[in-house]
Structure formats: C-alpha cells, structure tokens
Amino acid sequence: MKLPSLRDVGTEARLLLIGIPVLIWTLLPIYHMFLFAISPKEDAFAGKLWPDHPTLNNFSIVFNERHYFLSHFWLQLWNSTVIAVAVGALTLFIATAAAFSISRLRVKGGRLIMNLALFTYFIPAAFLAVPMYRTMGIYGLLNNHWALILAMVTIASPYAIWVLKQASDKLPVELDEAAIMDGATTLQLFRLVYIPLMMPSLVAIGTYALLLAWNEYLYAFLLLSKDTDITLPVALGNFLAADDSPWELLMTTGFIYALPPAAIYYAFKRYMVGGLTAGAVKS
C-alpha cells in the first residue's frame, strides 16, 4: 500500500470540511433536546455541553405523571398510538382496494379518481385544515378520535393509492390471467395473488400512514381539545401556553415521543427508501 498523495489528502480534507458542519447542523437540535432530558433544571439552563449531574429523574417524573402538565401522559400516548394504528390500517385498506381496482380491474373512471386523488395530494394540508375543521363540526365529530382518524386517512390515502398503483402496474398481467383460468374469483385473485405480491409496498405504505398520523400536529390540535382526548404532540404544544413552562420535562416528553417514529423509520428503512422516495418524484 502506497502512502496517500497530497491530492488525496486534499480531497479528504475538503470532504471533512463539508462533513463536520453537516454533522453539527443535523444533530444540534436533537442533542439539545436529549441534553435537556437528562439534565436537572439548573444544569439545563446553564448552557453546558454535558450536564454535571446527568439524571434520569425527568423520565421518572414523566412516567409517573408527577407534574400537572403531564397528568394524562399515558392516556395521551395511548391516544397517539390508537390513532396512528387506526390511520395506518384504514389507509392501507382503502388504498389497496382502490389501487387494485384501478390498476388490475381497470375499473371505468379509475383514471379520473386517480387524478382527483393526486390533486388532493398536492393541495397543501394546511389549506384544507380550516374547512375540514368546520366540516367535522357539521358532521358532529369534533372532539372525537374519529375526526382525526378520518382527516388523516383523507390526507394519507392519495399518495398511498398512487404508490400502490405504480407498484401494481409492474406486476405482469399474465398472473391475473392464469389465476382466472384456474377459476379464481376476483376476491380470491385479490387475496391470494395480489396481496402477497404487493407485501413490500404495503409495508411501506402502512408505515407511511402510521408515521404521518403520529407526527401530525395541526389537525390534531384543531380537531381535539379535551386533555383526555388529545394526542401527545398537542400536549407538547400546550406546554407553551404557560410562561414558566417546565422545559426539561417538555424536552423529555418530546424525546420519548420522537423515539418510536425514529425507530420505525430505521427498522423499515429498506422499504421506506425504495418504496417512497423514488416514487415521490418521477422525472
């Protein structure tokens, strides 16, 4: 092995010159949050890079709901979970059925529905928030978990249908033909041929919808208001209402809230990157 040339050292140095700022830029807010979570109040406010007395006391306060801001922590965590899982499951059901219908059964008007769905996908969600809020009021669903679930399904479905349609267009049509030759009904075709072949995309889409619902703040805070109904992000936002917010507890709760989506993302990265990002922008 020969020694690296001056040119190689220069290239490496230039790469580091980009890499180090990128690392700091990426991690700073997250590290800051983590630091608050493991610091007693005095240390957190002292602007230190590492607390003098790192502690897990904040976590214990959160888990035992020992602060009036946190009196429904477990219930709110549960609300977030139930809503996210419901949105994931419902989106998956609606989008798979629609994609199968449009792509494999080539239903009449399928193309129109696909275009309408895409149109919805591109309308900024914040623009739809106010009319959606009023609509849910008219339907009598305000302060009901179904309001948030249905709103999030509405937002998640268009992209879900589009990705699943793209994926199912790639399955060879001969498969369907062979199954029908063998006497399969449409439902059997759906259940026994289509679903198993689509598994990777279904995992990606289910995860996408679940994370979207878990992360949602705007719709959650518009549609739900009771302390026992709200999801965790709304509870985090409510911390801000007070002047003397317990920031170390806010950051601890935020850290706990951020862990599951990060873990899910990295666990399903294989599906997410292939299934979602490449499909997101087609050139």
Binding site: V22, R106, T120, F122, I161, L222, A258
Partner: protein
C-alpha cells in the same frame, strides 16, 4: 433517469379481465367505493364549503385593508423564493457529497436522515429554546465568546422569519437530498470515467454530465417543495407563533389565526388568494405524475 421512471398502466394490454365486464366491473366499483366516499365527504364537501364561505367580495376588501395579510403574503413569498432555493441548492451540493464512497460518509448519511425521521414538534421546540435570548445555548455562547448580549432572535421579525426558514430547511433538507442522490446515482459511471480520461475538471463534469441529467428532477423537486412549503404550518407556528406583533405569519398560519378570531370568511378568502399561484402548480404536478 431509467430507474426513476415507472411505466404506467397503459403499457399493459387489455386482457380477458376487462372483457368479463359485469362481475369484474362491479367488484371494481365496490373496491373503489371506500376511497370515493372519503373523497366526497372529506375533500369535495369541505372544499366546496370553504369556497362558499369565501364568496363575499367584502372579505377580500377587508383582507386588502388588513396589514397582517399583506405582511403574511410577503413573508410567504420570501419563504418560498429564498427558503426553497437555498434548500434545493444545499440539497444539490449535499447529494454530491453523500454519493462519495467512504464508509464515514455512509454513517453520516444514516444520521443525516434523523431530522426527517423524527417528528417536527419536539425538535422545533428544542430550537425555540436554543434561541431564547436569556437562557438559550446560542446567546450564552455568544456572551461567553464576545462578552456581549446576543440578538433577541425571535423578537425581531426579520430574524424570527429567517429562523423559521432555517427550521424548515433543517427538517426537509434530508428528504430532498435523498431524492437528488437517487437522481445522481442513476447517471452512468462510464460518463465520468470518460471525462476523467479527457482531463475534465470538477466543474466541467458537473456542468456537462451531472447537471443535464438531474436538471428536470431538480426543477420538479423545486416545484413540489414550493407547493408543500405553502402548507408548512409547524415551522412558523411553533417557533414564533406568528409573532412578534403578528409580523411573521405565513398563509398557512394566517388561516388559523383568522379561525381563532372567528373570522372564518377571511380565513377562507386568504387561502383563495393563494389559489392562482397554487392551482397551476398542482395541475402541472398532477399531469406529471399521472402520465
């Protein structure tokens, strides 16, 4: 771009499926029905209702006379023109950085995704505290280094808006970098080898190989990001709350502000004002993706 283009359904020949019109079509309608219902109840009806609320010309007159609306419109444009272009430029540069084959860059790219993978609320609140003029880590650092008090970050409209733009960039940069990386990786490596043989400079390789291949993708990403950024409520609302003195609102937060003040017609009218900009973009993107 071979890997990015996915062939659409038109390529599939019409098989015996569509000839068995009756039962298949009935199943088709039945399976499509759930989404159609969702669309009718939660997209078409709210949109129609919103437009109906925004029907009074008087709403637009009062919007016109509301200085907060004018300010929000300008802020939104700044957010779009400066924020998005800065972000896409950074994404373009970083996509070139992350495709370098070094193991430490591989690890860095795994960490780099974090802002996109974690929910935005806790991280925005974390930034909010970092910028606290008295207790925040940034001003404490400024004080330690210079002995002077740092700026009151979130209390000066220009600084506050810049910070909201930075938070937006922080959050969505990884996503666009990832997409541009996919575009760059699709370029045939032979081209670069041939350029190396010819002694092309770094800039020439970018100018004549990379840029022509990713140009369309870059423009699509910019348009898409513009549409989505219009709906970015969290970056502004959770960082500045629209303050100080309602000077940092964007259209997404303004609608909610009017809702809070029970001025529903203004809320909808403000959104309708953005439609001439949004609808052509939306239509263009829809056509692109439904090909």
């Amino acid at each position: 771009m071979a890997t990015m283009t996915v062939s659409t359904g038109d390529a599939v020949p019409r098989g015996p499926l569509s000839s068995r019109l009756t039962t298949t079509q009935i199943w088709g309608f039945a399976l499509l029905a759930p989404y159609v219902l969702v669309f009718l109840a939660f997209v078409l009806y709210p949109v129609g209702y919103g437009l109906w609320l925004a029907r009074h010309p008087a709403s637009y007159v009062s919007l016109y006379h509301d200085p907060i609306f004018a300010r929000a419109a300008v802020n939104t444009l700044i957010f779009l023109v400066i924020g998005i272009n800065l972000k896409m430029l950074m994404a373009l540069v970083l996509s070139g950085f992350f495709i370098q084959s070094r193991s430490w860059i591989k690890w860095l790219s795994v960490l780099f995704i974090l802002p996109w993978a974690v929910p935005s609320i806790p991280t925005i609140l974390s930034v909010r505290f970092m910028l606290n003029p008295e207790w925040g880590v940034i001003n404490q650092l400024i004080f330690k280094l210079t002995g002077e008090d740092g700026p009151n970050w979130l209390n000066e409209p220009t600084l506050a808006l810049s910070m909201a733009i930075l938070v937006h960039i922080w959050k969505s940069l990884p996503f666009w970098t990832l997409i541009l990386m996919t575009g760059r990786l699709a370029i045939s490596h032979d081209l670069f080898e041939a350029a190396d043989v010819d002694g092309a400079s770094w800039w020439q390789k970018f100018r004549f190989i990379t840029w022509p291949s990713v140009r369309t993708l870059y423009l699509t990403c910019t348009l898409l990001s513009m549409i989505w950024t219009l709906g970015d409520f969290n970056s502004v609302y959770l960082l500045t709350g629209g303050g100080p003195a309602d000077l940092t609102h964007v259209l997404a937060t303004l609608g909610i502000r009017y809702l809070r003040l029970d001025q529903l017609d203004l809320s909808m009218a403000a959104i309708v004002c953005a439609l001439p900009l949004v609808l052509p973009l939306v239509y263009f993107m829809m056509k692109r993706l439904s090909r």
